[in-house]
Symmetry: C2
């Protein structure tokens, strides 16, 4: 075990053996019968070593074997002897994890796209057997509040794969920008993807930076990112946030809502909500059809969070439709609307995912995954029913929050969420019922981007907390002695070009003038948490 | 020819043949004897097609052949018939160009890292023979004024290779930041790589954005980028700007200069200059040793531009050293200093490159390349001697300048340099002497980054002007009918993720309040150009 300083250690069993094995230009890549695709996956992940890894049908080298006896869909077995390396798993995903562990055992240069001259690829002999505790290990990038292009997303795919994170959730739409091309409704990318300026300071929407901001992914971009991710064992999870957070959508297609809207330049919760009438549902299912045609993944997140339903009580289209349906409470209409979209996704072979307000508002179908952010009320209620629950409470999974209370932290939306907060995170606490615990399918971090203007700042906010979350997700529980392992991992992050170096304190940026926002956010979250059984729409924001 | 809508057309000869050839999973990659490395280069560049391209020793498919009879070091011949494809060249670089032309003939998705489902790789039959007119076809990224990480640089390597640009010049040091790790002098990266704030508005150094900025490349990062570039036929050209532009260097090691210095947060020309005494030369050759050990390329740019020598007339160390050397004019000491560094580079097997002030100040050795930015005086004087001359005058190669005089252009340092300005650029004008013309080795664009804060803005400023410059560099003269070819090329840029789309007008950002900077910059440049025979240091700035 001490030979294998893996970042994600439990339930690793490692047995030390004497000696080393060196990967060289003569090392062959040997696919056991039926393991050709798995060997291709190994070749892709080891391409940075710049070794030929010529295929061979027998002999020694890197032997890749698919073996159903290696239990669990992502479990793997890795053995290094002086004569060669064997990677075995029941799936290609397991082989990918074995390959990443192999890279961890090599010099840090294995995480570069090309190594410095003279690098030798020496592996210590030994055995590692490992498997993840949780099936959903992920992170969310908010590309609406600030747009990050496809190269940044694909770089994050690489970082996710390195950390065995297997779900990359893209928050593609919000009040501040719609980031998906639509061939059927082109105003979505022509109009809804750009705003003229951006709020510059927390809670002061009158102060903006005067700089237009925008961008979107074409459907081909989404297909490309999805394939790139799938090749590395990562599933892209797109989110279209509905029925609230709709300012950008309604700026482009005002007939879907009430009143006039613009793509928002400021933060906070808007009152923009789509009218949940059949014409809107048709429009949105058209958009979901385009999205699911482009993206082959298994999931689509439908949002359902922070939705103010005031327009629905006054608009005659909506009230008339409620009469038709025999619905009197707008919350029931909210649930009806989300169920319609979730049902459409089911018909396309996808599972809907929604924030916990959508679930407690009645929007979930039996196969819907609930992602609980407002404390544990929604998570436990979801876990008591037939649903799968993703548990990502604000504390400690919101990585847009400060990493410390230090005066030199950059401007952010709140905080802190410290590294020890993350390592202490227990995805399925012992004081929950067995049923509640059993329904927790995983955890992920959230990188909301109101105060993350570019990819370099994104790295600063996400790492190294994402390393800790990856351990929690892999092991299924709080992780101890993390700091020592992290010290050995920073060289890998640096080699991967993550963060372009941990910046010195002087680099960390400006900070809001006083500490009030932190207290305000905490109070707000406590209120949300106390109302976890009702949709936020009924909570005064 | 009409079948081959290559962006870089002359001296292409294309002969139409009937039919198509489709690259499929069954297509083999056939290396003729001795062309194994060339076939590897083809495989690397075609990896995005996601075809196995299995090696085969005979048979049809993609046949790669090294043939000395294909004239010129970068010339190539490409032939597509219904039975297969043949790429031939006298060098691997030529084979790379043939491969990029092959990609141009495929659907735009060939420029993605993975194609959308259902993409078919159909090639029209025909023949292309092509060769570049100029040996140095490049661009400069200024990573000092704003730091761009290695992933951005490597993405630019891909864009350069796509456009047959073969020199990527990195301006690694300047007053506003030193971007190279030094194991021997760690304060270079610990201190000189960060500044506490950045000037926010043109010519108003009192207004700053309050945001620290910094970053640097490790020596391993530089080695990695260099290898990545070499694999794609691109040579990295690092620049350490000396003896002026030295604020960051002197903030870290004040003993190399006179007085106290800080890493500058504002733009313009500083008075920071190193003392050209032996201790400084030793320090700098140590730094050049680290750099050249890390980077295997053939060139190092030494700067030599915009240097104010006032400190040299008052500092007793410098005046004493001048007495020792028997030098009375500081300009002669300036030349002596640059020749010492250029000589050190020669001893390490590298050619020095320097801006034209360095040349007219006497700093060049016989193998030094002069890069003439201040009009044509320096270029023609250099071209009349034994030197190679890179001709990149501000107009039209400074791509940090506005692309139009439109009121919606983003804040920039000056302008405009329009796309027609670039297509009309003649690297070696007919009214120059034959000798002057013969010494022009090439052209490159410059992306100074005072007003280019991030990689997305960089794309906006560099493209599509870089496409036009690539044609000028390849063909050696002004290029006609460019707009029509560009229209067919935009889909490739989009597929490559360049610019994340040409932004609509509303996206182009803020603009300075009045037009005075443009007039001011023009007047300044006219003055510089009129004094092209003397170092800028003697011109009142």
């Amino acid at each position: 075990m001490d030979r294998y300083e893996t970042l994600i250690p439990r339930p690793v069993t490692a047995r030390g053996e004497a000696g080393t094995f060196e990967l060289t230009r003569d090392t062959a890549l040997v696919a056991a019968p039926g393991a050709e695709d798995a060997a291709d996956a190994v070749r892709l992940l080891l391409a940075p070593l710049r070794l030929p890894l010529r295929p061979a049908s027998d002999g020694t080298g890197l032997v890749v074997r698919l073996d159903p006896a290696v239990g669990g869909p992502e479990a793997y077995h890795l053995r290094v002897t002086p004569d060669g390396v064997e990677l075995s798993a029941s799936s290609v995903d397991g082989i990918r994890h074995a390959t990443q562990t192999l890279r961890q055992l090599l010099p840090d240069a294995a995480w570069r796209s090309a190594p410095p001259a003279g690098t030798r690829w020496l592996l210590p002999c030994g055995t590692v057997s490992d498997a993840p505790a949780l099936a959903w290990r992920g992170g969310m990038l908010d590309v609406s509040r600030h747009f990050f292009g496809k190269h940044t997303v694909m770089r994050y795919v690489d970082l996710f794969a390195m950390h065995r994170l297997n779900r990359l959730h893209l928050h593609l739409t919000d009040d501040q920008g719609w980031r998906i091309e639509s061939r059927r409704y082109p105003r979505l990318h022509e109009v809804a993807s750009h705003r003229p300026t951006t709020q510059a300071w927390y809670e002061r929407q009158d102060r903006t930076d005067g700089t237009p901001h925008g961008g979107y992914f074409t459907l081909d971009d989404l297909a490309e990112m999805s394939t790139y991710a799938a090749d590395r064992g990562v599933t892209l999870v797109p989110e279209i946030d509905l029925p609230g957070h709709a300012s950008a959508l309604l700026a482009a297609y005002p007939e879907l809502g009430v009143g006039a809207h613009t793509v928002r330049s400021g933060w906070g919760i808007s009152e923009a909500v789509v009218k949940p009438v059949p014409a809107t549902v048709r429009f949105l299912t058209d958009v979901l059809a385009e999205l699911t045609d482009a993206l082959p993944g298994s999931y689509v997140h439908l949002g359902g969070d922070e939705c103010l339903l005031r327009d629905w009580t006054t608009d005659p289209d909506v009230t008339g439709y409620m009469n038709t349906l025999g619905i009197t409470d707008p919350v029931d209409l909210f649930g009806h609307f989300l169920r319609e979209l979730a049902g459409y996704l089911s018909s396309r072979g996808r599972r809907a995912v929604m924030w916990d307000e959508g679930y407690v508002g009645g929007g979930a179908l039996p196969d819907t995954i609930v992602t609980a952010w407002r404390g544990d009320g929604g998570a436990r209620r979801g876990g008591g029913a037939a649903d799968d629950v993703g548990r990502w409470p604000v504390y400690p999974t919101y990585f847009d929050y400060d990493q410390s209370d230090g005066a030199d932290e950059p401007l952010s939306i709140g905080g802190p969420v410290t590294l020890p907060d993350v390592t202490a995170f227990d995805p399925a606490p012992a004081d929950w019922s067995d049923t509640e615990r059993a329904h927790v399918i995983g955890v992920q971090f959230q990188a909301w981007s109101e105060y993350i203007p570019d990819a370099r700042h994104l790295d600063y906010m996400v790492f190294p907390r994402a390393c800790a979350l990856a351990e929690v997700a892999w092991t299924g529980g709080a992780t101890a002695n993390f700091d020592a392992r992290l010290a050995g991992h920073l060289g890998r992050l640096s080699a991967a070009g993550c963060g372009d170096r941990p910046p010195p304190k002087s680099e960390r940026g400006r900070r809001r003038a006083d500490g009030t926002p932190i207290a305000r956010v905490r109070a707000h979250l406590e209120k949300l948490s106390a109302h976890a059984d009702v949709p936020t729409s009924l909570v005064s924001m």
